[in-house]
């Protein structure tokens, strides 16, 4: 047993982190929010780095990596509040489509994702809106227990406004057909929800860490009463408490990426939603009135975390699902229940 990432996985993560620090810093996120909302130039670079094909099978020109590799990258996308829909490609669309790569049309789409020529959006029936639906070439949409792969031209998209100024959401109107059906496996939509939930959790982890980092930086420099406010124990303890919550959310997220077990995903989801909410509340508090402004970057991360907390099953949903599993009559007990993967 070894619950740790490899050197290579961590190195890759660091490369992506450095890239996003240079290309998607808070100032660039702010610029994006004030302008077009998406940066085609940054997207091209993400494609060039091979990131869109991270989880696309090698046969379709991707890197063929797993979600254990992917989770670290998704966390970085969260840390940077990346506006472009990279996460939906690597953590939702490609893993779902990969199971159907023997279909030539699906194989072509996967190759397109890796090459950066095709973008997908994904929407679960639980969520009323789909992120980045307008820009997508294909949409993965659920209806009555079946998953459909729907070309953009067959979908009417009505834009809505998200609390996150950089999130683009829309209601989608479409009619399923035999030609759009991807899978009628009764478990397929649960799998989609799990992938979406994991993606949201991993991003939330990154977002929470950024909020704490921003607040800790501020606490080191902001002076009141002739001292850095970070020297006041009240401020220190606030931030330390949130860091504990983040660390204890991190392990379940990584575990969930490995097992992809619904139980672990729900656990990760609840832990991250709570940690991110605490991070937002605390970071604003540490920033004082500054934290309540649009002019300080913090709110971009807070609003992304807020928006992500509501999709792919919110806290309420995952806690209810988890309690059903934990309290069911055939739930594993004792040591079996602690370490079993299923």
């Amino acid at each position: 047993m070894k619950f740790a990432f490899t050197e290579d996985q961590l190195l890759f993560r660091d490369t992506v982190r450095d890239f996003l620090a240079a290309e998607c810093g808070p100032a660039q996120v702010r610029e994006c929010a004030a302008g077009e909302g998406r940066s085609p130039a940054r997207w091209a670079k993400l494609v060039e780095m091979g990131l869109t094909g991270l989880t696309v099978p090698e046969a379709q020109g991707g890197l063929g990596l797993s979600l254990v590799d992917g989770v670290l990258i998704v966390e970085e996308a969260g840390r940077a509040a990346l506006p472009e829909p990279l996460v939906d490609q690597i953590a939702i669309a490609a893993p779902l489509l990969a199971a159907f790569a023997d279909r030539t049309d699906v194989a072509e789409i996967l190759a397109g994702i890796a090459a950066g020529t095709v973008k997908l959006a994904a929407g679960h029936p639980l969520d009323p809106f789909v992120a980045d639906a307008g820009d997508a070439d294909y949409l993965l949409l659920g209806r009555e227990d079946a998953l459909h792969l729907v070309p953009r031209g067959r979908v009417t998209v009505t834009a809505e406004v998200s609390v996150d100024p950089l999130r683009r959401i829309a209601a989608v109107d479409w009619t399923p057909g035999n030609d759009t059906l991807l899978s009628a496996d009764p478990a397929i939509l649960d799998r989609m929800l799990d992938l979406g939930g994991l993606a949201a959790a991993a991003q939330g982890l990154g977002l929470a860490q950024t909020m704490v980092d921003l607040a800790a930086d501020y606490a080191r420099t902001r002076q009141q009463f002739g001292k850095a406010i970070g020297s006041f124990q009240a401020v220190k303890h606030h931030l330390a408490t949130v860091q504990v919550a983040i660390e204890f959310a991190r392990a379940p997220v990584y575990k969930a990426a490995f097992t992809l077990a619904p139980r672990d995903i729900s656990h990760a989801r609840v832990a991250v939603i709570d940690a991110a909410a605490a991070a937002a509340r605390t970071a604003i508090q540490v920033f004082g009135a500054m934290g309540y402004t649009y002019e300080v970057d913090l709110h971009f991360f807070m609003k992304r975390a807020w928006a992500l907390a509501g999709v792919w099953g919110d806290r309420h949903y995952h806690l209810a699902r988890l309690s059903r599993m934990v309290l069911s009559d055939d739930a594993a007990l004792g040591a079996d229940g602690t370490f079993a993967d299923k």
Partner: protein, 395 residues
């Protein structure tokens, strides 16, 4: 002890509720429930007219002494006034800083001339006020004020900067704490000046809030002037007067605030019942806990106000800001959790940034634990003043 209302109280209730029913109509009808915290920008001019309308009818300064032009209403009437104002959906008051802070400060510390000069404008709803305390380097450490004022002939000349000044962009007057003794530091050498806002020496720059709108501002003083007599208290007594104002912030107006809280909680409960979240045991408990918190605040406020007139603020006065701010911040989160996924979508057209009332509540309540003394500062005050613990070491 008596917790009920008398027949005379009930007659007063009929008077105010009748007045609200008759007057919050016609052009004012659309102001119902608008303009509260987070929504300050809504229908501003119309709310300004409403403020004047209230002033004409004598509904500003209900709790002020009659000698100052108020109604001198007893506590029970003030409670009733705020209850009925909130029940009717009375709009957020544009004059609350004048009525709640500037006015009472002038009543307590001002000269007779100042009372004659400034109180009528507040009572009529004509003059709006803002609070010029905070500066970039004087937030929690308010005594670190650097804005300077010099007496030149018959005028104070003011240079410096204030920040987070709520409603400065629409105010006629500002009460400013400025350093009037060269070389002084900390609480000493400060003075409390009343400064007209519409003048060349003052520049107001709005600060955008995370709600996308602007309620507070940066205010730059560049040779701004006010008449020599517009000082409350003596030169150097500014700190004492400023602290007096802060005490009013914890006064009767909290009753009105609690009624607004009550309306918000009722709305959240109604939504939870309608969308099924009220069936969830966790939500049920959080809603019940919110109700308990509200009852605690109300009982505490009534107990505190029943002792009004005591020169020393009782312990429960120290704890109330901390309690309501934290409770309200939690309520904002509870509202979002009750709404579920719906909470994440703004109601406007793409390209706009409009919030629903509950989204405004959520975002605005992020700041409740910051303004009027942060939670951390409140805890320090409770520990040091109520519990007599040693003061924190300062650099």
């Amino acid at each position: 002890m008596k917790l009920s209302f008398s027949a005379e109280d009930e007659a007063f209730r009929a008077e105010i509720s009748g007045w609200m029913a008759d007057h919050l109509t016609g052009p004012f009808a659309r102001l119902k429930n608008r303009g509260g915290p987070g929504d300050e920008h809504a229908f501003f001019e119309e709310r300004r007219a409403w403020e004047r309308h209230m002033g004409k009818a004598g509904w500003i300064g209900v709790g002020w002494p009659t000698s100052a032009g108020g109604r001198g209403a007893p506590l029970s009437h003030q409670v009733i006034f705020y209850e009925e104002y909130a029940r009717a959906g009375g709009p957020g008051r544009v004059g609350h800083i004048g009525e709640g802070l500037a006015g009472p400060t002038i009543v307590a510390f001002g000269s007779e001339d100042q009372k004659r000069r400034f109180l009528p404008g507040i009572l009529s709803g004509d003059d709006l006020w803002c609070q010029g305390y905070s500066e970039p380097n004087a937030g929690s450490d308010l005594a670190n004020v650097r804005t300077r004022a010099r007496l030149v002939g018959d005028r104070w000349v003011i240079d410096g900067q204030k920040v987070w000044t709520s409603l400065a962009h629409v105010s006629d007057w500002c009460f400013v704490i400025a350093r009037t003794e060269d070389g002084s530091s900390g609480h000493r050498g400060l003075s409390y000046l009343l400064v007209p806002m519409n003048q060349k020496g003052i520049t107001v720059r709005p600060i955008q809030q995370m709600t996308g709108t602007s309620e507070f501002n940066e205010v730059f003083f560049d040779g701004a002037e006010t008449a020599a007599e517009n000082i409350v208290g003596k030169p150097g007594e500014g700190w004492k007067v400023a602290m007096g104002t802060l005490a009013f912030e914890r006064g009767a107006s909290t009753l009105g605030q609690q009624m607004a809280f009550r309306n918000q909680l009722d709305e959240i409960i109604a939504i939870a019942k309608a969308n099924g979240r009220a069936k969830d045991p966790v939500m049920r408990q959080r809603l019940a806990e919110a109700w308990i918190g509200l009852q605690i605040m109300r009982a505490n406020a009534l107990r505190m106000l029943s002792q009004a007139g005591n020169p020393e603020l009782p312990r429960e006065a120290y704890v109330s800001k901390l309690y309501w701010a934290t409770w309200h911040r939690d309520l904002g989160k509870l509202a979002m959790d009750v709404l579920g996924p719906e909470a994440d979508v703004f109601p406007g057209e793409p390209g706009t940034y409009e919030l629903t009332a509950l989204q405004q509540l959520f975002l605005f309540t992020r700041s409740d634990t910051i303004y009027a003394g942060t939670n951390e500062i409140q805890r320090n005050i409770i520990a040091e003043r109520a519990l007599g613990m040693p003061r924190e070491a300062r650099a």
